[in-house]
Symmetry: C2
Subunit: 152 residues, 2 copies
């Protein structure tokens, strides 16, 4: 427990997993720092040290994590440095961002349906696709409600 090396390994593996799930590599590694730090908040400089990465890449990783709402900038505690921390509900947010993909699939299917005649096999396939994603999109809010209820 609290073995530094083990922890570093676990963090990097988690980052790898996030990357496979579609997140950019540096953003994933940065997110892992926010998860694994033993402090309540973190500065860009600390991330740079911990990841041994350039200031530039860390800066853009922070920017992208901020933009999707996974971390937040803390009201500056008098310091010159900006402090950031993982937001509550970050995981639900990450999951919700899949909604955008589903929405896009739905629209793509609709566009395809509009180009096919109703007897065409393509019309049937695209309609099936459309129905599925429409169903999914409808279920997600309910799902997250259940989560909020269960977790308090």
């Amino acid at each position: 427990m609290t073995d530094r090396h083990e922890q570093w390994l676990a963090a990097e593996r988690l980052a790898l997993t996030l990357t496979e799930g579609g997140m950019q590599r540096m953003a994933a590694r940065t997110l892992a720092v926010f998860l694994f730090t033993d402090q309540e908040s973190v500065t860009a400089g600390e991330i740079i040290d911990r990841l041994e990465a350039s200031a530039g890449s860390v800066s853009s990783a922070i920017k992208s994590l901020l933009s999707v709402g996974l971390i937040e900038r803390l009201p500056a505690p008098g310091s010159r440095r900006e402090h950031y921390q993982l937001r509550d509900n970050a995981w639900a947010t990450l999951f919700t961002s899949q909604n955008a993909v589903i929405q896009a699939m739905l629209q793509a299917a609709a566009a395809g349906i509009a180009t096919t005649a109703s007897g065409d096999p393509a019309h049937r396939r695209l309609t099936e696709m459309h129905d599925f994603y429409e169903f999914l999109l409808g279920e997600i809010p309910t799902l997250l409600d259940r989560w909020r209820q269960q977790s308090g």
Copy 2:
């Protein structure tokens, strides 16, 4: 309707969307052919023509779509060419493949928890993460049951 150019555009846009969702580019374009073709099944050669891509890249795209269960090889209809088609339930399959990602996140969280003491903020964060993905993983089967029921 059935405007060839419109259809091509819709197919390529759908492929783009799939790519953004994490699918490899050529696999996505190939899947789009399976969706939009007006035939019941398709051969590798037809995909090559339609996408104006090399035999090699189409071959590997087909291989990967087969491996995730989105398309199937048809019992050879006497022809020398292999015929493939979109599988029933392809979309549910595609969605389910997200399970693997969720499972991996769960394990990554568990590994992290094991490296932290219970007073450590990291311990709390990792536990929250773990709980969320555990919840998700449990919900997905139910979700798909509802889909099967609704769609018949």
